[in-house]
Subunit: 626 residues, 2 copies
Amino acid sequence: MLPRVKRFLLGSPLRTTELHEQKLSKKAALTVFASDNLSSNAYATEEILLVLMAFPALLHYAFPISICIVVLLTLVVLSYGQLIRAYPSGGGAYTVAKENLGVGAGLVAAAALLIDYILTVAVSVAAGVAAIVSAFPVLLPYRALLGALAIAILTLVNLRGARESARAFAPPVYTFLVTIYTLILAGLYRSGAGSAPPATVQSDALNLSQLAMIFLLGRAFAHGCVALTGVEAISNGVQAFQQPVVRNAQITMYVMAAILGSLFLGLSYLATAFHILPKLDGSETVVSQIARQVFGESVPGWGLLYYLTQFSTMAILILAANTSYAGFPRLASILAADRFVPRQLANLGDRLVFSNGILVLGAAALALIWSFGGNVHALIPLYAIGVFLSFTLSQAGLVVHWRKSREAGRWWRFGLNALGALTTGLVLLIIAVVKFQEGAWLVVVAVPAVMLLFWKTRRHYFELQTELTLADFEKPRVARHTVIVPVPIHLNRVVLTAIEYAKSISRDVIAVTVNTGEAKTDTLLHNWKKFVEDVPLIVLDSPYRSVARPLLRFIGEIEDLRTDDKVTVVLPEFVPQRWWHNLLHNQTSLILKGALLFRPGIVVTSVPHHLGEMRAGRGREPRHAQ
Amino acid sequence: MLPRVKRFLLGSPLRTTELHEQKLSKKAALTVFASDNLSSNAYATEEILLVLMAFPALLHYAFPISICIVVLLTLVVLSYGQLIRAYPSGGGAYTVAKENLGVGAGLVAAAALLIDYILTVAVSVAAGVAAIVSAFPVLLPYRALLGALAIAILTLVNLRGARESARAFAPPVYTFLVTIYTLILAGLYRSGAGSAPPATVQSDALNLSQLAMIFLLGRAFAHGCVALTGVEAISNGVQAFQQPVVRNAQITMYVMAAILGSLFLGLSYLATAFHILPKLDGSETVVSQIARQVFGESVPGWGLLYYLTQFSTMAILILAANTSYAGFPRLASILAADRFVPRQLANLGDRLVFSNGILVLGAAALALIWSFGGNVHALIPLYAIGVFLSFTLSQAGLVVHWRKSREAGRWWRFGLNALGALTTGLVLLIIAVVKFQEGAWLVVVAVPAVMLLFWKTRRHYFELQTELTLADFEKPRVARHTVIVPVPIHLNRVVLTAIEYAKSISRDVIAVTVNTGEAKTDTLLHNWKKFVEDVPLIVLDSPYRSVARPLLRFIGEIEDLRTDDKVTVVLPEFVPQRWWHNLLHNQTSLILKGALLFRPGIVVTSVPHHLGEMRAGRGREPRHAQ
């Protein structure tokens, strides 16, 4: 039944030969790679305001802070332009850092990226749910549930093998761009026409010391830096572009950055102009409040535009989460090939996707969404730290790369990337410090923890390889076989079948039974004489009524006694017709199997008897010779 | 480590020969067997009031209803006196019903009793917690937790093998009797001295139709019948009495009933006299309210008596729960001997108690307490129905018994038990009807469900016995052995060891590997020629990348092809040093084992390789011949 359910949900398996890749035009690539980055507009402005609202007099700093962030964005994008040039085959932070800075740095980047992919899913889905909740406040208590549902659907769709299809991605991305630009233009017109209430600057800013003010503005800046998440997406996927790949990828990235910057500045300006404050309970997003003010009030038909804004915001956020479903499993499979994570993460599933990676990502994001109650504000402090860690490492890697390079113009590229590395490193430090208490410490702990797992895993595989090598392999020759058959106190045909099996694989068979004092051994001995003449039966007395312990002791003694042979334990086993029938039997053979698993050098053989097969006559009994 | 924890909690195992029984005097027997019955005073009066308080004008009926219940008690006790006479070896309802009315009736009684043992634990523990909560209202939110804790401790103590020690039981039972009698006498004095406020009879009784009033009084009566729970305890344990057993047991039971009746009437009278109403939120019991009024107010030193009442009430309720820990496992072991429940319930554990029965009881009671939030009022409607079911069945069984008997006085005994059977049957019907909606339906459903399990279990064992019989057993002779060894695409020494093992048990070995297209088979074939000349290797292509499916198909084909032999699948297996290392390997051999378990006639052999043993040199490798 399970395989049928699986096939219904995931579709039929695909042949390995059906794997193929498709090259994207610039316009198509924008829709595929930009959603992660552009969707951060849904929460970036809100995060700045969230910090500043503690001192309303500082709220007008939101726009200048946004300008600072756009300057940072420009620097990062120019830096990444050089990364695309240096790694036209698609250099993720892991590859760049590993090649130029060593394996350790590469693994830091990989750990940061894996964590960030998970956070991208959790944050994007939570923000998408927030957009819907803003339009339909009745859904507020079901945030976590809605988020979990969205993740379940995303996981399923990706397990089915949703290729990153530009055709499917284009409508939501362009709808989002059109509605948000419309919102910004209409908002600018309205605020210019004086429909925005006048700003009232309060004087409590004077109560703040200069240091406290710098710290507060720094925090606001650090919070706003989530706008930059997803910038690296294009540099990871350069391979997917049409020729000339480098130029096309660079241009697409610059276009994306320009769109991001303009949207971000526009929304930050409007939020300040309309004096919008974030709702702490998450009942309405800042974007929703702007849209409600701009669209929702005077002109009645424009209300539709409001809903369009909310739905397209949700759609692009879901697409953003979806990009992680491509990135995480791909990175995990690269790490698996290098043996830093379990091999299974490199397995192509039935539908030619890295199913295990998709499942791990889905489960982790689900756990995050659930434990943070689907609350965006609670999740965001964890975010961005990993992004800036990988920014810094890849820029630093490029610095080394250009230093060794012999290319023309390597010196200004070196300078640009050095500036990029220094700046993003500084921002990383700021983020880690100001967000530490709010949750960033979780990531600060998680990165080394994940790295430890990498090393432990790698070491295990390495040791395994050394141990299993065929060099200096000497064939073991089995001189003698001792076979031990544990026998219950009530003899039955299943046991006798097992004894015959044991006799067929060795001439040295010992049967052993445990007498717990309840039943008499007379009948057993009588039946033994009648049915099995040629196998010695040893009766162990068990005053404490335990069956497994005396048997295990006996098996151990036999193994110690005979040094020149191989000990095989043959276990007669019932396989009942229904699973719950297992509850009706003492699971002695299961206990023995479990215990013998940890005894080196003992081979365990199960001779199964399928209950009901004799009666029903539909099974295949061990055949008898004529 | 687990065995050490177990030993710490339960103590060292005991030898079978340490099992012995102890005979009880009447006084000792009273403390051992009466707690279940007498403890029902903690909630019986409260249950009557709970129904009547819907119409305050009817509250003064509480005392007359209590008198009716005491009349019923007298009848039941006299009936049970005859049961003791007829079954001096201890006749539980199961035995009596089975012998006289047939197996079906016996199983109804058994199902009812098992359910009632569980409910006794749950209700008594919940009521014990309620007594403590009444004294310390701050504990109210932790009722379920306290109940769960009490059950955990009871289970542990009984797993250690707490014999029903009369010496340990006497102090709490006698303290309870002394304090409650003191309470009643002091209360009577106070109410007589006029310190009780005058009763104000309201007139809303007139608004009730006669039918509705009868139904209401019937409900109150049905609720009060929980007072009778535990009456049967002595008749189950007649064996434990000193000679003359019948007379001693009868006298003890009559004394117990007299105490129960007087306490019950006393408490019901005081509750009416002091106009006490139950608290619906369970924050204070009726007994606690009586005690607070009688002891707590005027004379300051008497406050201590109040706490004594509450603690001794709790203590006797815990003892009552404890009696089920003797009764349930004993009945379960009798049923297990008759093969109606899993055999394991008849196993004597390390400490010479029926550990599995104790665990089942504890788990079931815990589940009940937890799902009803530790609320006595919610649990009680489930109670009593099983008790009266077994009352009715055992009295009916006695009717048949006396009819067949040739004893003097059998006719009046016949009449007495017939009256008993009819009356308890009628009460059973009333209880089932009026409490149906409140939760009794759960029991009405559970009894047949448990019976179905009895029959299904019995049938399974019966079929098993038929199938495994040694009559007409013909030795299977294995003519040929085919051994199949699944081999991974990367050859290693674990696999080669398994191949050598396979060769040692048969001359007909086939190795098989699956090519999923990722790795090249050239290296494998090269290594194969080098290390294994004499075993054919078959390569299966797997375009869908599945490993297990092609292997299983291949094994099935080989089995179909060769009709004159036995197929053994030898699986090379890793046993990693740490459990989590298992996550780092494809669990192909586990999947194969699971799938092959359901293929009749295929023997599965695991050749384990313990990782690290070679390197560490502390394990025992399969020995090689010189």
